[in-house]
Each structure stands twice: as C-alpha cells, then as structure tokens.
Symmetry: C2
Subunit: 277 residues, 2 copies
C-alpha cells in the first residue's frame, strides 16, 4: 500500500488505528479451542468485527512462530484474511546482513514464494544499512524500523548518548531516514512518554510512526497526537490487548468492536481538531 493510499484510508475511515494480532491460545475464548485452527478462527472474527474501524492489522509473528509449522499455517491464513484496504504489518523485528535480509523480505513481502504478502515489516536497525535497505526496493512495501520502543529495556541502549548529546535513537532516525524515503520507511516510537515525540519529530517530521503502548501499556492517545501528529496524520496507533481481549466470552468479537469503535471515535476527533478531515 502506498503512502497516498494509506492517507486516503485514514481520511475515509476517520481512523489511524492499527490492531495488533498477538493471538495467544491461553487468552482467547476457550470455546474456540475446539476449532481446527483456533488462532485463525479468532483472528478472522476480530478482523470481520473491526475492519471498517482501523487502517492496519499487525500480527506479532512470535505468537505464530512459537507453534512452528502449524503457527506459520495460521499466519498464512490470517494474512489471506486481511482486508485489502488495510495495511498488513508483519511485526517480526527482523534484520540481518544484506543477503539474509533479502531472504526476509521475500518471506514477508513475496506472496509467490513464501505465501505471505504483507505490506510492511518491523526491522531492528543494529546491523546497519545493508540490513535495512533490502526492504526498501518495492513500491508500496514498507520497512518499519525500531527507533524508540516502549518496553522497560528500551532505555538500555536507545538513549546511549554521543559527545554532542545525541541519543542512539535520534541517530537511528537520522541515518535510516537517508536510506529510504517517507514513501517506504516508518519508525516505531513507543507511546509511553508522549513528549519524546517532540524529539522524534525534530528528526523525522514527515515519516509515519507506528506507535505501540497506548492503552494497556499506559500511553495517552491525546499526548501522542499533540506531540506526534503531522499534517498527513503521520501516525498509526496500535492497540492490542484492549481490543482483542476485551472479552473472553462468546461475545469477544462484539466487545472488540466496541473498544475499537471508542478508539476510532477518539481518533476522528483528533483528526478533526488537526484539520485533517
């Protein structure tokens, strides 16, 4: 999906919601466990209940890979069930030397070889340019590169500072911005400290940011928008647990829709406030 199309979808759906599909067999409604593929059954119901309210879905690959071959079958079926008007983000945190990153690009982007044709893949930047650029070669495909994450360990290395006071995550933003463009590169920026977006926007004013950490992890949507939104919106805000585990009963899809709707309405208000819609 191109940047222009993503922005069109945001305006059309009045939403910049991304729904995380971290589908955990110990957390999904227990009646689904009798299905042939409970992970897929769950995802399909969640997608059908929410697809008009969000612009992206983000399966967390670890939650599939942990079941080996079976898990990859669930992932493939889940990818096939993603609506064409939503960005499909494989949250896989991949990244390796050039010839290996090319293989990962094939794994997640090239449906004809791997059976998966996601639009975007999350990437860890530690290995540098040849680990990132293989994901930037096809129009409409995105590298979503880790910059400032929302987890407890994010401050171990991401704020490592050089003599000029530049933190590693800022340096990552600067470097990676030059390897691609705003048409094929996004950054992961956690929502747990809204004002960190001020610094992020100094380095990447025009890029889309994928923002985890709103809701269950404690981030505030209002703060993220206040400091992080740009004239094209420039945000994909992810929610996982608050939406997909809104209920553990037979009404799980309906309750997921209710939670997604609340988020969509808050986002609509933010888009209006910013004059984007």
């Amino acid at each position: 999906m191109t940047r222009a199309e993503l922005i069109r979808q945001i305006k059309l759906k009045r939403s910049f919601l991304c729904i995380g599909l971290d589908t955990d067999l110990t957390k999904i409604p227990q009646h689904l466990l009798d299905d042939e593929d409970p992970i897929y059954s769950f995802n399909k119901a969640i997608i059908e209940a929410t697809e008009d309210l969000c612009v992206a879905y983000k399966p967390n690959i670890a939650f599939y890979e942990c079941y080996g071959v079976r898990g990859w079958q669930s992932l493939q079926k889940t990818w096939q069930a993603l609506p064409k008007d939503c960005l499909g983000i494989a949250d896989a945190k991949r990244g390796d030397i050039g010839n290996t990153s090319r293989m990962y690009a094939q794994a997640f982007f090239d449906e004809n070889v791997s059976g998966l044709g996601f639009d975007a893949l999350t990437i860890a930047p530690y290995m540098g340019h040849d680990s990132v650029t293989p994901f930037l070669t096809t129009e409409g495909k995105w590298a979503v590169v880790l910059a400032l994450t929302s987890n407890p360990g994010s401050m171990d290395f991401q704020n490592f500072k050089n003599a000029e006071g530049v933190q590693l995550f800022e340096y990552v933003l600067d470097k990676v911005s030059n390897w691609g463009s705003i048409e094929n590169t996004m950054f992961v920026v956690g929502a747990t400290r809204g004002d960190a977006f001020i610094k992020v926007r100094e380095h990447a004013p025009d890029h889309f940011l994928l923002v985890p950490g709103v809701g269950a992890q404690g981030g505030s949507l209002a703060d993220v928008c206040r400091y992080g939104m740009n004239r094209d919106c420039g945000l994909l805000v992810n929610s996982t647990r608050a939406v997909i585990y809104a209920s553990s009963g037979r009404d799980f899809a309906e309750k997921a829709r209710e939670e997604a709707l609340k988020l969509q309405q808050e986002m609509e208000a933010e888009l209006q406030k910013a004059g984007i819609i």
Copy 2:
C-alpha cells in the same frame, strides 16, 4: 548443551568449527531439486559428511522462512537431523519486548510446543534487557547476542561512541554480560578485523564468541585465534559458503568434507598452540 559439554566436544573433536546452513535453492546442486524436500536433502548430506569435524551447525532461519510453511517444514526436519553432540544454533536475530521474546524462546527452544529444540538463538540487542533475558532461563540454552558484526553496515551504529569514547558494541558487551553468565550468553563478533577482538576480550574475557566472516568474507582464522581465543577456546568460528558450496556437482558432500577437514586441521593446530589440547 552446557558450556562444559561444549568445551568437552571442542577438545574431543579438536575443532571449534560451526557450519552455517544458509541453504539456497539457487546454489545447491541442481540434481537435488527433484527431491521432495531439496533443502533437507542437501542439509542431511552436508551434516552426515561433516559431523565429526565440527561442534556446531547454524541454520540461517531466513533461508527457510522465505519459503513460508514449506520452509519451516524443512527447518524442522533439519533440526531433527542435527547430531546430539553438536550445538544447534538458530541464526534468527530475534528480539522483542519481554512477552514476545518469551514466545520466540518457545519457538526455537521448546520442542514440545514448536517442534524445534535448538540449543542457541542469535539475538539483536536494540530493545534491551527484557528482550534478551527470556532466552536465559533454561540450563543448556544460549542467547548469542549481536555485538560487533562483520557486514558493511556494522559501522553505522555499532561504533556509535559516547563522551568517554566507549563504542555501542562495547557498551552492549558490558550490559548484556551482566544479564546472564558465561554459561548462557555468547556474543557475535565478526572476523573481518581480527584486532577488534582485543577490545572485545577486554569486555568479555570469558564468554564464547560466535565468529562469522572467516573465509568468503575475508577474515583470517589465525588473527581470530591470536586475538580472540581464551583458555577454554572461547570461539565458535563459522564457515558457510566455503564449506557447503565447495562444489555444485554430485560430489558436493565429499567436497564439503574436504573443506571442513582443512578448517578442522587449522583449528587443531591453533588449539595445540594454545595448549588447550
């Protein structure tokens, strides 16, 4: 495999060779393409021809994942074919927030859930402690954390320097060393600049290092040993292309053995020189 057992195998086999299984359908002998699972056929033949000469095998997960479900089937069969006296390293460069890294640990370490029970997994450290520690909880399982890699992009971030002149890879060595122990943590250190091992050994004198980059990538085994070997050997030196693609004909396994034997003999001489055997 525990550290003591690994050292025992190194002394027994007089080798610290790790063979990379970056098995590429465009590079393996073409007569194998008629097999039901050419990747597995190739790997099985390579393993059978070399298992007495090496102490570790390292499938590069991207080369399996790029074929989706089918690729994971080849990976599972390959893992099953690994000899019990060799360390099985999944070269996957994973790493994510705590609950997700736990899923990746299950994917690669917990045979009962995923069908894969590797001994070790390569990890990207960018997300910090909660992305690494879930791999350190089971005796005999290893996190092999990226420190200083051998690819062109390694100098983009890994030598980012703080005000005291400490480079990021050194800081990674210091921090990560404290999260685990020499019993469950190794570091990836590329062989392309042998003298970089001097600095690495200042920060991690006792850890095992997984060393790619010898051979095809230009690193020298003598330099790696000179600067990187410790009293327990402390090195697993990987070779991939020079061994597994030594011939593209029907004699590929035999030629792979010849190349592995050359490396084993060089390593034996180094172990003798150091008084380890």
